[in-house]
């Protein structure tokens, strides 16, 4: 009974809290620009509206066009459930769950790009090609970050890996993971979610042809993914295990808020990079994680 209850509370955290983050980012951007901006709850309204709408399907689309978003949504939420939530721990924890989390995110990538390619549109092809190509470097950075946390704690289970602070390399790891967060969630400077030019988009270009409930699933999944990365970054850097349960919860919320505001600020003060510079920035992220790994390696006792 308690496990079922626990699972529901957890799902509620992930499903209900996630759409708040894009709202906060937009509010920060509006505040910096001196605008009023859309309401913080705008994405909730959008999702509710989309869920009620009908669907326009491309004449070329196979059933995979609708199944893709569903698979991606389940995969992202599955990955999120593996992540511990501060004092509450994880829904399920076992040796090697860190790798399962990474590969569930990869499954989500496979199905969104698959759905994008369904329409035969060159714009969506461009978006999908960028998504899978940049993911190669992002994946290298993520594996390196996981290795660094493993070396720090002597474990391959997220619950143990994320309990202590990342130690001396925390700043490096934070910088590396934040860069990966921006890339994986298609934020500035990698991608501009607000642009109106399809040629320069990644994520938005892939979902041009989606509408109605499948689009709602994609947008909600993207929000959960952003929350996932924010939680991962916070817990990797802050010493969650040393805090009292209330302190840890507070730290987690504050950390997620700080990351979200940080994304908003980056988006306010930085322009999108030219695509040829994206690999350089991602390589920097890999190097930051690699240095964090070296610091953890030299840093001493397990």
């Amino acid at each position: 009974m308690t496990t079922v209850l626990d699972l529901f509370v957890r799902l509620a955290w992930w499903l209900l809290l996630a759409p708040l983050l894009p709202g906060i980012i937009n509010k920060v951007k509006a505040w910096v620009a001196g605008r009023r901006g859309p309401p913080v709850l705008q994405l909730y309204y959008d999702l509710a509206r989309l869920w009620q709408k009908g669907v326009v399907l491309s004449t070329l689309a196979s059933p995979g066009f609708v199944a893709g978003p569903a698979v991606a949504w389940v995969a992202v939420i599955g990955a999120a459930l593996l992540l511990p939530l501060g004092p509450a721990g994880a829904a399920l924890s076992f040796k090697g769950d860190a790798l399962l989390m990474l590969y569930l995110l990869a499954l989500a990538r496979f199905s969104t790009t698959w759905a994008a390619m369904e329409t035969g549109s060159a714009f969506e092809g461009m978006g999908a090609a960028r998504e899978v190509s940049y993911a190669v470097l992002a994946e290298a950075a993520m594996i390196t970050a996981m290795l660094s946390l493993s070396v720090q704690t002597g474990s391959i289970s997220l619950l143990t890996m994320l309990t202590p602070s990342a130690g001396a390399g925390a700043a490096l790891l934070a910088a590396g993971l934040f860069t990966v967060l921006l890339a994986e969630n298609c934020r500035v400077p990698f991608d501009d979610p607000n642009t109106h030019l399809e040629l320069t988009m990644i994520h938005e270009a892939m979902i041009l042809d989606h509408s109605g409930p499948p689009l709602a699933a994609i947008l909600h999944g993207a929000a959960v993914k952003l929350l996932l990365f924010a939680v991962l970054l916070t817990e990797a850097v802050l010493p969650m295990g040393d805090l009292s349960p209330f302190g840890a919860t507070g730290a987690l919320l504050a950390g997620v808020l700080a990351v979200t505001v940080g994304v908003g600020l980056v988006e306010s003060f930085l322009a999108r990079f030219a695509f040829r510079r994206v690999p350089l920035l991602l390589t920097t992220a890999v190097l930051l994680c690699l240095f964090a790994l070296l610091v953890a390696w030299k840093g001493g006792a397990v």
């Binding site: 196979s62 076992f94 993911a135």
Partner: protein, 649 residues
Amino acid sequence: MTPGPFLLLAAVCLTAGIATGPRRPRLWTGLSVAGTAAGLGAALLGLLGAPEWEWWSGFPVGGEELHLRLDALSALFLALLCAVGGAGAVYAGEYWSDHHYPASAPRGRAWWSALLLSMGWVLVSSNGLHFLIGWELFTVSAYFLLTLDRTRPEVRKAGWLYLAASHAGTVCLFAFFAALASRTGSWELGPMRDQLGLAPLLWLALLGFGVKAGVFPLHVWLPSAHANAPSHVSAIMSGVCIKMGIYGLVRFSGWLPVPAGAGWVVIGFGAVSALLGIAFAFAQNDYKRLLAYCSVENVGIIMIGLGAALLAAAQGDAPWGRLALAGALLHVWNHGAFKSLLFFGAGSVLHATGTREMSRLGGLWQAMPWTAGLFALGAIAVSGLPPLNGFTSEWLVYLGLFDAVTGRGPAAGGAMLAAIVLGMAGALALASFVKATAMIFLGAPRTQAAVRAHESGWTMRAPMLGLAAVCVSIGLAPVLFWPAVARAVGVWHPAWSPTGAPAPLFTLGAVHLVLAALLVAAAAWLWTKAQVNGWRRGLTWDCGYAAPAARMQYSSGSFAGIGAGWFAWILQPVRNLRRPRGLQPVVALRLEYVPETVLERVIGPAAEVILQVSTTVRRLQHGRLQSYILYIVAGLAALSGLVLLGGTS
């Protein structure tokens, strides 16, 4: 019950298959299925607890008495051989039928049986001489299968390259077995870990078996051979034949003492193969070449696991080596299953459209829904994504590598790099297979050939369904397959005796099961929801462009552009560019293909040099008697000079 009678039955069926194959296709299919089923039975007995089976006979073959042996390790590979061999025999009935290929189909059936028989022979023979005989027969049978369609020049070229490369490898194996026999005084094979003097011989085995396994940069023969062979032959070559190289490596690194540093070499070549193999795959435009290069990557993953196990064994039998080797051996099965599935799917597409160019296909899901679905399943498996089998084995290899890192032993640095390479290779595999499935099956048909495509018949779909079932079951219930793999690991290294499945594997299996159910449920839910809300079909939006043409779709070359650009230093793409000229350009062209760089830029020029040197030297031999007499005189003078100078004693 011993595997003996099953093996005998399999041998009898397959031999009968060689005899009856050319004239009786239906009987041949029956015999092949019966023979492979019997072989599978023997393999399962060997894997599920029967003690190691050995059989001697006084009957000499080639001067040596017969000695057969089936332990868990050979049974593991035998099971793969029989599964793919049986599936391929059923598939070939329709794919390479007498109706379409009256000249080569009868020949193909006989060679197929011969190939299965000789590979099985290699797996069970425990005598160096017999191993070599079987090895040579298997190489030659594969050559004749590869060149079934020998009227096409590129097939003959690929076959010739395969034969030459294979024999370069076989030379190393001749040296290896001969040196082994001369040092031990007998051709008999078996565990000889305590004879430390034999250790350097393993380098020869590494080279010889490495060529067969297609390890980068010894893989030069593999892409053209696997691309040009008939697809059922590609399936068995990629799924099983290259695994014979892996079998040799695993077998003899287990039986012989291992030289220091071998673990580093194996893991290093594994990492290079994994990354570069998949980089080449990503840049291909021919889907069968893409699959072939992807085999190089998967062999790399297996070698990473094997190398980690060798390192662990050298460092006091660290338990993480067991995980890495178990992952590698499970990946042997997994790759065999999903790669054969993908090649069968590719054959089905080739059968329906007659082209191997991805840029000439598209939109095939409508005409061939079964092939599209099964190919997609194989693509998810080969990209190493949960909940299918590819992830299970890669996850075990990862666990071994991460344990090596957290153990902070001397191998930790190598394990870190290997893990990062594995991650990048996985992401590139995903990119390659999104590209392949999307270009072949999604979007709009790019040519008339793709418009006219048709689904293949049941005898081609059934083997694909069987292999897909294997992929799904290893993914959803990995624990069931653990005992077999653990026994093979125990044979390789007795210190790692078989144990129950590790607890995380149970959890992973359960998670996969729940995940699979949720994925299906979510897809069904969203589908119904979309239907309830109401849907209509419209033109792809394409930013408002009202008249999209099929050729405007993103092509396979543009999809791979970014990733291929990063690897341009090794891919060396060849470009053919004709820019649009004038105010009203009529013609513009941009063709790009990736050559087999190692072959065309390294081995090709080296062969040219050797050829030039030999041509120059050949001028000495011209048939003029006077000059020959001069050579003899000069030779005698040189020898006398040598004797005079050194003649102090």
